[in-house]
Subunit: 221 residues, 2 copies
């Protein structure tokens, strides 16, 4: 294979190849940076608690893995409590806005239906992603499509790790403002997207058990 | 730096170094395998819909990324509906078992409290993880601790991707039984762990608003 050809061409021994391998892998951008200093560690715990799990930095030692497990057992439910609490407040806030707008428009039924809520929260999610994509595209020098893909994969908590913010030019240590912005983007964006997904799930779940409410028909008027 | 020293020692040119880099990265175990044949693609969509996102295989092209986004928008809510439906049935089933056991033990209050539920689902989660860890340790030749870490990181949907099952020895194409077992493990395990986390979150959320129910005290008897 091509690997063997390269070894023979340059007369590289197996242990030396291993060294080159290590150097190359260490030099890959997303593995670089000062991952375990304060800003990097804060980024890591945010990525764990939000269940994004980019894998750009992971515990190597047995005690590191054990601590990560214990930390996640406590952190994930507490994180979810926080996201749900903020999400509930967001939903209450949007329903008040919807009611006021409906009153202004002179609708008969001024209640905020779940479809209304879904539209507002969904729109908010799209705004967060499109604005976020522009910001990350600027800082990370990604094209807009890649940047939008990064925002989407992050805020749905899939977190492939093929694109990870804050990994270039030692941004974690040299750009504290950008670090703060990224963390706020993750925390706020996650709340909005999670609220949208929850409303969508609720909509699917109640589809079979409930008749379509009369309020829902108003949307089509 | 060490990279420059290696280039000079072996008289490797920059484009040739790029080639070596590509070969090494392609040869990394988790990037290898037939990721986009049927079994690999099935594994990929499971990893997306369950929001695990190992990142062991990711879309490279613009159209691939766009399709992945659209697929996730539809797939994730539908996946959550499925997980929640199964989770609800699981909770109903465990509450029936708890009631029967309490009746047999002659308890005054035979209702299944949320703490009872949490204990049962939590125990089930631990069983799934410990048994799963043993199975993956056997197939993947990981030590038990690494294997347990893999199961935990997978079932909490963090999905770092530092350990990914089905990546050795072309397992995706040569071991259909193991592929099926892995997918069932992910789907069933996720349901159980998600139900546990939901009960834990519910417990935290109701802690401030409700007084501790009398039923909860029975646990300490
Ligand atoms: K994830
Ligand atoms: K992930």
């Amino acid at each position: 294979d091509i690997r063997q050809q390269l070894l023979e061409k340059y007369n590289i021994s197996e242990p030396e190849y291993k060294l080159i391998e290590t150097v190359i892998i260490e030099n890959q951008p997303h593995k670089a940076g000062q991952q375990w200093k304060f800003a990097g560690a804060l980024y890591f715990v945010t990525v764990v608690v939000a269940m994004i799990g980019y894998g750009h930095s992971t515990p190597e030692t047995v005690s590191g893995k054990a601590f990560c497990i214990v930390y996640a057992i406590v952190g994930i439910p507490l994180g979810m409590v926080m996201f749900q609490s903020i999400g509930e407040r967001l939903n209450k806030f949007t329903s008040i806005i919807i009611k006021k707008i409906k009153k202004l428009l002179g609708c008969n039924n001024t209640g905020a239906t779940d479809v209304n809520q879904l539209c507002v929260t969904g729109t908010l999610s799209i705004i967060v992603m499109t604005v976020g994509a522009a910001v990350f595209s600027h800082y990370e020098k990604w094209n807009y499509m890649d940047s939008f893909y990064y925002c989407f994969i992050t805020l749905t908590t899939i977190g492939f790790g093929d694109y990870v913010a804050l990994q270039k030019d030692n941004a974690l240590t040299t750009k504290p403002g950008y670090v703060a912005l990224s963390l706020v983007f993750i925390l706020f964006g996650l709340t909005v997207v999670a609220a949208s997904i929850n409303l969508l799930v609720l909509r699917f779940m109640t589809m079979n058990t409930e008749d379509v409410k009369t309020g829902d028909y108003e949307m089509q008027d």
